[in-house]
């Protein structure tokens, strides 16, 4: 399941808070969060999440961020003048749990327990994404998450997954059918998502 090659390069952060439906991971590098809607893996057994929120903020929340570029011409100059800045900020991302793996098979429902804090978070390889999205049973978790951006997220997630698939348009067609099945009673919402997914 986890290929040795590039594992370190895909290690992007670690879980700093976890709940049954989502977890928060802190990135090791500033601005190095995985993109919205992408799949991340963490914990043992592996829990799969879909990134739904990326935040960059001061490490010390009591110290407000001040604007510092008034006297300089470019943003690069600002960074050069304040080399400490990259050390004062951190990037976190929040991921919605979409499933987990047991004995090499994917379960597209919530794991019994959330990942432990300090579990390493990895981005998923295209192959892993393709295998996970072979089934679209996780869509209800996403659509019913109650997140205000659930529809955006569904669109981003499916677009991203399509690029990992061998036949992206076939995948999107299949996904559109699955979405239609889920949202058969709410055509405006369905078409809104479909427009975000349309190739």
């Amino acid at each position: 399941m986890v290929d040795g090659d590039g594992l370190m390069s895909r290690k992007i952060g670690e879980v700093v808070a976890a709940a049954s439906t989502s977890f928060v991971a802190q990135c090791y590098e500033l601005y190095a969060a995985p993109p919205l809607g992408s799949f991340v893996r963490t914990g043992t057994p592996a829990v799969y999440g879909i990134v739904y929120q990326v935040t960059t903020e001061p490490m010390d929340s009591t110290r407000p961020v001040l604007a510092r570029g008034e006297g300089v011409e470019t943003e690069e100059e600002l960074q050069r003048n304040n080399p400490q800045l990259s050390r004062l900020f951190t990037t976190r991302f929040e991921a919605l749990i979409a499933g987990f793996s047991v004995d090499d098979s994917f379960k597209q429902y919530l794991p019994p327990l959330p990942p432990a804090v300090h579990s390493f978070a990895y981005t998923c390889t295209p192959d892993e994404v393709a295998r996970f999205t072979a089934s679209l049973e996780f869509l209800p978790l996403l659509l019913n998450s109650g997140l205000p951006v659930a529809d955006e997220l569904a669109g981003a997630c499916l677009r991203g997954a399509a690029t990992a698939q061998g036949d992206g348009s076939a995948f999107l067609f299949r996904a559109s059918r699955a979405l239609a099945g889920q949202l058969s009673g709410d055509v405006p919402r369905l078409t809104a998502i479909l427009r975000r997914v349309a190739p």
């Binding site: 679209l136 067609f173 299949r174 559109s176 059918r177 699955a178 055509v187 405006p188």
Partner: protein, 582 residues
């Protein structure tokens, strides 16, 4: 989900992807229904609603039975009522394809008529009438050729290939035994193929050997061929196809000769054979009042049976008629009008003074197992002649059958050979006002008690007495327009509401809805070809040899006892021999 998605996938991959489903015949799943209304099948997203036609056969795989039914209605459904009010990006094929079959889908109403054994090829359990319906989520398929053969039987001596189901190549057969047991009705508006259908039925009856038929051939279409006005060709008649089994009688020898037909006998009818009942029946066509028509009975009393008509027509003038009226105490004017109208009959060349023994001659032929076509020649256009002759002959034949049957029941003779009387423009005989009086009304009502049944051919079934219609066992109906006619044809049939939609959408040519005793369930057939050289070969070759040749695929059907190379003479010899062996 997985099924749907894989089907959807194939549909997306190619524009003709729908064929994937059609090849397997998968239609969709049962979502709701009732025994009386039929079940509703929600179409699979991969099946286009346009690929399903009303009247086609559907099988539904229940958990214990396979149901066999017919598609009676097709509808569009949606899962979100707002769908029709919303502006949709239907220009984007991605969105429209996602919605089609999921949010907006097609449904097919299926009337399950029969249940079949769940395992194919299990001949032990024949299809029987469905008394339950398949549960929800049962899978529905287009019926396969094998299913159709299971339900309607293979073509053989007892099953006649009448045509094929809609959009199918397989042969649809009707049960000839059941067909001739009860009266048969062939309906349809003018030019829809009633005559062709009747010809096929007659060939079937002829081949079954179960019954003889007597065809009152109004328009000279059955004996020596007729004209197919659509194709502008002459099609062969029964006499040409089965010369040794069919006898042609004619009322109009000249017309027959002109058409190249050589009739076996010329029918002459004596005035003495006309009875007052016959006049009663002609009331409408002769425009006679009740009183005038019934005064014929007074005449019979006066002059005696068998003599009255001649004696009456021999009266010299009106004055003599009035004298007679005074003598037999009937209204003079009524008798006068009867006299006027009856003198019209004189122009019928087939009416002669001496008895023609026509009925007896026909019965002789029928008893020899022949099928008799009575050509009316130029008299066919005269309804009076048609009604008079067919009624008169039928009554005598019926009387003979009744006598023979009663003798057989008393152990003094053999049963009369079953007889099918074929009449056209049947509503003239069987309208509620005259049906009680005509022999045809009697025959229709008494069923097969005396081995005589009717085949009525008509374009106005609504005018036929409902009492008679209810006794018609097998109905074959081509396209009908009139609401009342449709209603009359379907009266008393289970599922008539659903069949109405099917009937109203029949093609105007070569399509017929058949239901009743000869078939396990109602079915729309594309009637078999009749008129090409090949069709004649198939028709005359008969079912056995046809299927034998069909099975091994080679023309060399040496296994069959009767070789197809039999000449008409040989056939005649063989049949005569067979006849005497009995």
């Amino acid at each position: 989900m997985t099924d749907e998605s894989s089907d959807g996938l194939s549909a997306h991959n190619s524009t003709s992807g729908l064929n994937n489903n059609d090849a397997q015949g998968f239609l969709g799943v049962v979502v709701e229904g009732s025994l009386t209304q039929g079940v509703e099948v929600r179409l699979d997203p991969g099946t286009s609603v346009e690929n399903v036609k009303v009247g086609t056969f559907v099988t539904i795989q229940g958990s214990q039975y396979r149901f066999f039914g017919v598609a009676t209605d097709i509808a569009l459904g949606n899962s979100d009522q707002r769908l029709k009010h919303l502006p949709l990006d239907l220009g984007d094929p991605f969105i429209s394809q996602a919605l089609l079959g999921t949010v907006a889908y097609g449904t097919v109403s299926v009337l399950p008529n029969l249940v079949m054994p769940l395992v194919r090829g299990d001949d032990e359990a024949a299809p029987s009438a469905a008394k339950t319906i398949p549960p929800q989520f049962s899978l529905a398929y287009s019926a396969s050729e094998a299913d159709v053969a299971t339900v309607f039987g293979q073509e053989d001596d007892r099953h006649f290939w009448i045509g094929s189901p809609l959009d199918m190549e397989s042969k649809l057969c009707i049960n000839l035994d059941e067909l001739v047991k009860r009266s048969i009705g062939v309906f349809g508006k003018s030019g829809t193929g009633k005559t062709f259908l009747t010809r096929l039925l007659l060939v079937g009856i002829l081949q079954s050997g179960q019954a003889s038929s007597l065809i009152f051939d109004m328009h000279n279409e059955y004996g020596h061929g007729g004209r197919d006005s659509d194709r502008g060709i002459m099609v062969k008649g029964l006499k040409q196809l089965f010369p040794s089994q069919v006898s042609t009688f004619t009322l109009d020898e000249d017309s027959s000769r002109r058409r190249g037909s050589t009739p076996d006998e010329v029918v002459r009818i004596g005035y003495g054979e006309i009875e007052p009942e016959d006049i009663e029946l002609l009331r409408e066509t002769l425009n006679l009042s009740d009183v005038a028509a019934s005064s014929a009975f007074n005449l019979e009393q006066k002059f005696g049976p068998g003599k009255w008509m001649e004696a009456f027509l021999d009266l010299e003038d009106r004055a003599a008629v009035f004298d007679l009226a005074a003598e037999i105490q009937v209204q003079p004017n009524a008798l006068g009008s009867l006299y006027n109208r009856l003198t019209r009959l004189r122009r019928f060349g087939f009416l002669v003074k001496e008895s023609g023994r026509a009925a007896a001659r026909i019965i002789e032929h029928l008893e020899r197992g022949k099928h008799v076509v009575l050509e009316f020649g130029r008299y066919g256009d005269d309804l009076t002649a048609y009604i008079l002759v067919s009624n008169l002959l039928s009554r005598r034949i019926h009387d003979a059958y009744v006598r023979q049957k009663e003798e057989a029941e008393g152990g003094a003779g053999k049963e009369p050979r079953p007889l099918v009387l074929v009449i056209e423009e049947a509503h003239k005989f069987l309208s509620p006002s005259v049906a009680p009086q005509t022999i045809f009304g009697t025959i229709a009502r008494e069923l097969r008690k005396y081995n005589v049944t009717l085949m009525v051919i008509d374009q106005r079934p609504s005018v036929i007495s409902s009492e008679v219609m209810s006794q018609v066992g097998t109905r074959l109906t081509c396209a009908l327009d009139d609401e009342r006619d449709i209603e009359a044809v379907l009266a008393g049939t289970s599922g008539s509401r659903q069949l109405r939609g099917v009937l109203a959408r029949l093609e105007p040519k070569q399509q017929a809805l058949i239901f009743g005793h000869a078939l396990p369930m109602p079915v729309v057939v594309h009637t078999r070809e009749y008129g090409s050289a090949e069709s004649y070969t198939l028709l005359t070759r008969g079912p056995m040899r046809e299927s034998a040749a069909g099975n091994d695929g080679s023309p060399d059907a040496a296994e069959t006892p009767e070789t197809p190379t039999e000449t008409p003479e040989q056939r005649l010899e063989r049949e005569v021999a067979e006849l005497f062996q009995q």
